[in-house]
């Protein structure tokens, strides 16, 4: 078994399994706790609506906080959107997903992908620069913050290497000539899958849990969500 076959086979299955089981375990660790019965007279019983509303309202800071959070919020959006565009809009990724899960969709033009990749790289670099230079972020940061940044940036970097190797030609003239670069790229993504449930990247799932918990709680009191 060559490296690409390993990356496309057992490594992919293992990393995805770890990610799914790990995330499930993380959610179990929350949901194993009982819901606490609240006997106070609610101001509103629309707690489910509050939970849903909080998921959406916290996507953008409240007006009063926008000026102080402008850079971190905008930058956060830049790499989240940039990554999503590259991961789900780039033709080779779509082809790969089609092979693995059997579904596909139209790809975005390469120029959009290149712009999104550029935006992602710049915003991820800005994110780490902020983390290293801002006194608050310096204080809060630990191994998880830096390693999570690394496993996010690494697939982007290896993806750029693949792009350089194929010279922008897809499908490449001689796919086997680029097997190593593609394998490393795939393994770098699998590293992200492996780490995701253990650190802050789990916010991909947890964000819905914590926001909805707050939304339900605050809605009951009639507090601003």
């Amino acid at each position: 078994m060559n490296l690409l076959a390993f990356a496309e086979g057992p490594a992919l299955v293992t990393s995805l399994s770890v990610m799914i089981i790990g995330l499930a375990w993380r959610l179990v660790a929350i949901f194993r706790h009982p819901t606490q019965r609240n006997l106070s007279e609610p101001r509103s019983t629309a707690t489910i609506a509050g939970a849903v509303r909080c998921i959406f309202t916290r996507m953008v800071p409240h007006q009063e906080f926008r000026s102080s959070t402008k850079l971190s919020s905008t930058n956060g959006y830049a790499y989240h959107v940039g990554l999503a565009v590259v991961v789900f809009g780039y033709l080779p990724h779509i082809d790969f997903l089609k092979r693995v899960v059997g579904i596909s969709w139209p790809a975005l033009p390469n120029v959009v992908i290149y712009l999104a990749a550029g935006l992602t790289i710049i915003s991820l670099l800005l994110a780490i620069m902020l983390r290293l230079s801002d006194p608050v972020l310096q204080l809060l940061s630990n191994f998880d913050d830096y390693f999570s940044w690394f496993v996010t940036m690494f697939p982007v970097a290896t993806g750029m290497v693949v792009l350089g190797a194929i010279g922008g030609h897809y499908p490449p003239n001689d796919p086997s000539a680029h097997d190593l670069a593609v394998a490393i790229h795939l393994l770098s993504v699998e590293l992200l899958f492996l780490w995701l449930p253990f650190g802050k990247l789990a916010h991909a799932a947890l964000v819905f849990v914590s926001r909805s918990a707050m939304g339900a709680d605050f809605a009951r009191k009639g507090s601003r969500i």
């Binding site: 606490q36 106070s40 916290r58 916010h203 849990v209 914590s210 918990a213 709680d217």
Partner: protein, 448 residues
């Protein structure tokens, strides 16, 4: 560290608390450090529900909460970042009961929290957090940081690590029924001379009444006119009401210090008094945390739905202005309103005082960042009782002064006596030319 005589009250200064201690006792009891640590973690995690567990798992270290905290904004010291105030408890949670605790423990990836760390965090959890909840409103992950600080205080109390002054007033409240010496005897005396001086009926200990009215000891000891205002308004409404000497003190230093048992005791005094006089309604005074303690936690302490409604005084005023039982003369003044955090942002009663103000017909000038987003006065959560917290609290208060000055309003009004106390102290410290008034007093003075 025990006994009331060790902690004499200072009732002469603009801010009421115990006198500045010559020697601080910020560590209570004689338990070995290991027991303190274990007790802290156990109390923090006690009755840990799904919501708290979700909050503990979700922080992404974005640091945005710093920008919402008056203590951070005033000082720019990173240690005042709200989520950092929970750091030892976050670590203990991850190590002891988080989803990967077995890994953290096996490889010691999250070292045990030491007693020195808990001690160091005392100033962060008490002196520099008023549990105002502004951080909870900015958090993009939706973590109620203020609620977690409340839990952490439970841990700190059980570890015997409460700031000297806060412990002293909480202990006095548990023992005497009031943190500031407003005992039932003092209350009776005050009501006697207030009724006589103002020629007004102030019912006390009626056996049966529709409305049980409660007070803050700050009102009894510093702003007794509030009692007269209450009487004026309730008599104007022709309400069947009473104060009760077996349940009048609505401040809850059990909650603020982190002692759940004391919190329960203090709440149950009020609940039992309301039940004893068959009250249909309990009115909470102009006090922020008193509202949260009874309105949102009272029934949970009682163990079943309360057999009466609970309203903050501003909600009572709003309700009765709306139904016509309170009629007001218009005022020809400009006015701004300081939202008490526990009533507006944390309590959900943001609109009630605004409707009352509207009924007063004033030129109402909202501050920039108002209502649910208002900046805390800096004295809530027991912070105003702690002398060593003063320098930071004054810096945070400068945000508040600027907010009010910028409105250009003639009158500044609030609905929390603890906020008023903090404003009085800030005014004296900065020689500020503004005073903070009571919304209740304003209504009472302008009844038709």
């Amino acid at each position: 560290m025990n006994g009331v005589d060790s902690h004499p009250l200072d009732l002469e200064s603009p801010r009421l608390t115990v006198k500045a201690p010559e020697v601080r006792y910020d560590k209570q009891g004689n338990n070995p450090d290991e027991e303190r640590i274990a007790a802290a973690i156990l109390a923090f995690a006690k009755d840990f529900g799904r919501t708290a567990a979700a909050y503990m798992e979700s922080c992404v270290h974005c640091g945005q909460c710093a920008q919402a905290c008056h203590y951070y904004v005033a000082s720019k010291e990173p240690k005042y970042t709200p989520i950092w105030k929970l750091e030892p408890f976050k670590r203990a949670y991850a190590r002891e009961s988080g989803p990967f605790a077995f890994i953290y423990k096996a490889f010691n990836l999250k070292p045990k929290v030491t007693i020195e760390e808990f001690q160091d965090w005392q100033t962060l959890l008490y002196d520099s957090c008023s549990m105002c909840g502004r951080c909870s409103l900015i958090c993009p992950m939706g973590i109620d940081i203020a609620a977690l600080v409340g839990r952490a205080r439970h841990g700190m109390f059980q570890a015997g690590l409460v700031p000297h002054e806060l412990w002293a007033v909480a202990e006095r409240a548990e023992r005497e029924g009031s943190p500031l010496g407003a005992t039932a005897k003092v209350l009776k005396e005050r009501i006697g001379w207030l009724a006589e001086e103002h020629d007004i009926d102030i019912p006390l200990d009626k056996e049966i009444a529709d409305v049980l009215v409660t007070l803050s000891s700050i009102e009894i000891m510093k702003y007794p006119n509030s009692i007269v205002s209450l009487a004026k308004v309730l008599n104007h409404m022709e309400a069947s009401w009473t104060l009760r000497s077996d349940g009048y003190e609505a401040t809850n230093f059990g909650l603020l210090s982190g002692n759940f048992q004391w919190q329960s005791d203090m709440s149950m005094r009020l609940i039992n008094a309301a039940i004893a006089c068959k009250a249909k309604l309990m009115v909470l005074p102009e006090c922020g945390h008193a509202y949260g303690a009874l309105r949102w936690e009272g029934a949970n302490i009682y163990g079943k739905t309360l057999p009466f409604r609970v309203l903050h005084i501003s909600e009572l005023l709003e309700e009765n202005i709306k139904n016509g039982r309170i009629r007001l003369n218009p005022m020809n003044k400009s006015l701004t309103f300081h939202d008490p955090c526990q009533i507006s942002r944390r309590g959900g009663a943001t609109e009630a005082p605004r409707k009352v103000i509207s009924a007063l017909g004033v030129d109402f000038r909202e501050m920039k960042d108002t209502g649910d987003f208002n900046w805390c006065c800096g004295g809530g959560g027991g912070v105003v009782t702690i002398h060593r917290a003063d320098p930071l609290r004054y810096r945070a208060f400068e945000i508040k002064m600027k907010q009010i000055d910028d409105t250009g309003a003639e009158l500044a009004v609030t609905a929390c006596s603890n906020c008023r106390l903090t404003f009085d102290d800030g005014k004296a410290h900065f020689h500020w030319d503004k005073s903070m008034h009571s919304l209740l007093d304003l209504v009472a003075d302008n009844l038709v």
